[in-house]
Symmetry: C2
Subunit: 415 residues, 2 copies
């Protein structure tokens, strides 16, 4: 009788039950999860995942920024591990799958390997990165950025929450929640990194595909624009005599929307925040602040269109002061072609429908791609809704993605 | 030797000094005035004006809503008074001239008449209307609206401020500040009403004219528009899949700006307030609220353009919910042609430069025009700035307007 494949050993019911059980920690009345990084709920969640791993004999390690690793040993003690993972911290009104899925799919892959008594050359690991969401402490993707060296440990330990508590002060209690975790070196090398995640967008569902072959992460630029005008009486001041900060801001946004127009619907352009001063119905606004979130997978487009924003704002300011500050800038990520090829090949082998996709959101895999060959696997989420308590995904799709993940992990671990 | 005219008897220095002295009550560090209606400062201001009036033998009366009247008797005890006035309450960060000028110009006219020992057939009065600004208690023009019958006394006495204090509770202390004021009947008839005021706009200054012959007050309509969409992730959600409440709101405003375009620069169209929810840079807005303040002197235009706003919002809502509420609607006021003619004739007699003007702001004269023939006289204010601590006007212009006012009052009082 032929050996049962790792994909066959992935158990949909076990993976689903893990999601149900972990979602009880930080559960919200509307069916979502509030398990923000470095809160007591985060510690409880980490302890629960650790208890599941320890039962299977996986070893646990934690690094200085609180990234939590679980390892199933390989046959070659000197071989670098093949790592997968994501995060279990959530938004304040988050869902049951964002991040959590990538961690539990990793656990499921390792459990399936253990169920089969598979021997791999390389160790297999899954990781729960610390503070991917950036809700209590900014920036987001904090743990993976420190692991990869993009941010320094000292700088991140000094970050404060809204109450003035630092990461350095909050971290020990969270680390103490997994007392048997051994210390782990920051930046310890990996053979490869994989991250399974719900898409957080509607494209897979709309295309009726089960697996997204994530070829990269689009780049992102954030701008804050402040437009000044002169406060004036709405009844008495002729329009020609006004310096209306809001009217100018709207002209700027309209002109930027024009250059962002895109038949392929690839550009992501969002004005999400706007503040008007003094914000009184019968006073011409003297000051308007608005933000731009602009994303694109192509660095040339991201650079060209993004670099035109300041000049457009100047041109539409009518000689009044306008300041354009770029507050965030990350280039697009292109995942490793070999690892992406493994994902595509495994999906084909499992006869699952698939499409190539570029991630719209940032993920920890962005930083891992800087230090080792990396890729991601997306599965559909209902109506593309995420960062929301009603976030949903099906047990079948979650299991399908976990099977692809397990197949790729085993293939890479035996290379 | 010819009799000195009433205009010659108006004293620029005395009028200016009254402004300086009254501005000390509620003075702000930036040179403005905070003397909101029914506050202790309002009472002190009313007591100071009363002390000036009593020295000249003018009698004082107060009605049930706190409008404060000062009278110089005429020769015919049965004749209706010719009344002028404005208000001495201010915005929280108001100036020294808005309202105050109309009261002090009235005092100056009566003092000039007294200095000349003029005998008029009709009594001459000036009035300080209660709560024109509507800062602490809404609505604005409260006192004149009750006097004219547009609002009921009971409804206005029940109005509360931000702390839950009613007008009825705050009024007695203010009335007690002028203990010798006799009771006065609400709505007691007048022969005519005149109001001198700073323009609060830049047209007189720009045209280098000293006197604005105010032919009316433009009409005003206020709208509050609420646009709904769906919250979505700015990175993952394609633009075609979004229901972006802010983008829709901006399309609505652009389309309304188009129909409001006006080569004559007569339309006053202002979006002064905008609220965006959840107002986060990387979340597509799910709800936007904005206001429209639309004013025009022509009722047909006010009706036609204003009535098209709701349909435009519907058309630009892309099938998502939008609600358009009209929160305020006042038709244009046309002042009495005979009284306006008196103002024009007096200005010509005094050889002052003038232009016809329609008031952009509401004034107490709007309500007086409903019960007696009324008109207004504008003088320039610096750069058109008003409702601002830096509001300014020149002693010469203030005196010129007071001379016109005094001439008209005497002419009407002897008709």
């Amino acid at each position: 009788m032929p050996q049962k494949s790792i994909a066959d050993a992935v158990r949909e019911d076990r993976l689903w039950q893990r999601h149900v059980d972990l979602a009880k920690i930080g559960a919200t009345p509307k069916g979502g999860v509030n398990r923000q990084a470095l809160t007591p709920a985060d510690g409880k969640g980490r302890a629960l995942v650790t208890s599941w791993a320890e039962v299977r004999g996986f070893t646990t390690a934690v690094d200085a920024i609180g990234n939590l690793f679980f390892r199933r040993a390989g046959s070659d003690p000197d071989a670098l591990p093949v790592v997968c993972g994501s995060h279990i911290d959530t938004q304040p009104t988050g869902g049951r799958f964002d991040g959590t899925y990538g961690v539990l799919a990793g656990l499921e892959a390792l459990e399936a390997a253990a169920d089969l008594n598979l021997v791999t050359k390389r160790p297999l690991e899954f990781v729960a990165w610390m503070n991917e969401e950036g809700s209590r402490f900014q920036p987001a993707t904090m743990g993976s950025s420190v692991y990869s060296g993009a941010n320094t440990l000292d700088a991140m330990l000094a970050v404060t929450d809204g109450d003035g508590v630092t990461v350095g002060e909050a971290l020990p209690a969270t680390i103490a929640a997994t007392p048997r975790a051994a210390p782990r070196e920051l930046g310890a090398p990996m053979a490869a990194y994989l991250e399974a995640h719900i898409e957080q967008g509607p494209r897979l569902e709309n295309a009726r595909k089960t697996v997204g072959i994530v070829t990269g992460i689009q780049g992102c630029r954030w701008f804050t624009i402040e437009v000044l005008g002169d406060e004036a009486h709405a009844g008495t001041t002729p329009l020609a005599a006004r310096k209306d900060a809001l009217r100018r801001a709207l002209n700027m946004i309209a002109a930027i929307q024009d250059i962002m127009a895109d038949d392929t619907d690839t550009v992501r352009f969002t004005v999400g925040r706007m503040e008007v001063f003094p914000n009184s119905p019968n006073t011409v606004p003297s000051r308007v602040l608005f933000t731009i979130d602009f994303r694109h997978p192509d660095l040339a487009v991201l650079t060209d269109l993004g670099d035109r924003i300041a000049a457009i704002c100047e041109a539409k300011a009518g000689g009044q002061p306008v300041t354009v500050r770029e507050t965030y800038k990350v280039p697009p990520t292109t995942f490793d072609a070999r690892i992406v090829g493994h994902v595509r090949e495994a999906t084909r082998r499992l006869d699952l429908s698939m499409m190539d996709i570029v991630s719209g959101a940032l993920h920890d895999a962005k930083y891992m791609n800087d230090i080792c060959p990396s890729a991601m696997i997306f599965v559909p989420c209902e109506k593309g809704i995420s960062h929301n308590e009603i976030e949903n995904a099906t047990p079948e799709d979650l299991a399908a993605g976990a099977r692809v993940l397990a197949e790729v992990l085993i293939a890479l671990a035996n290379e």
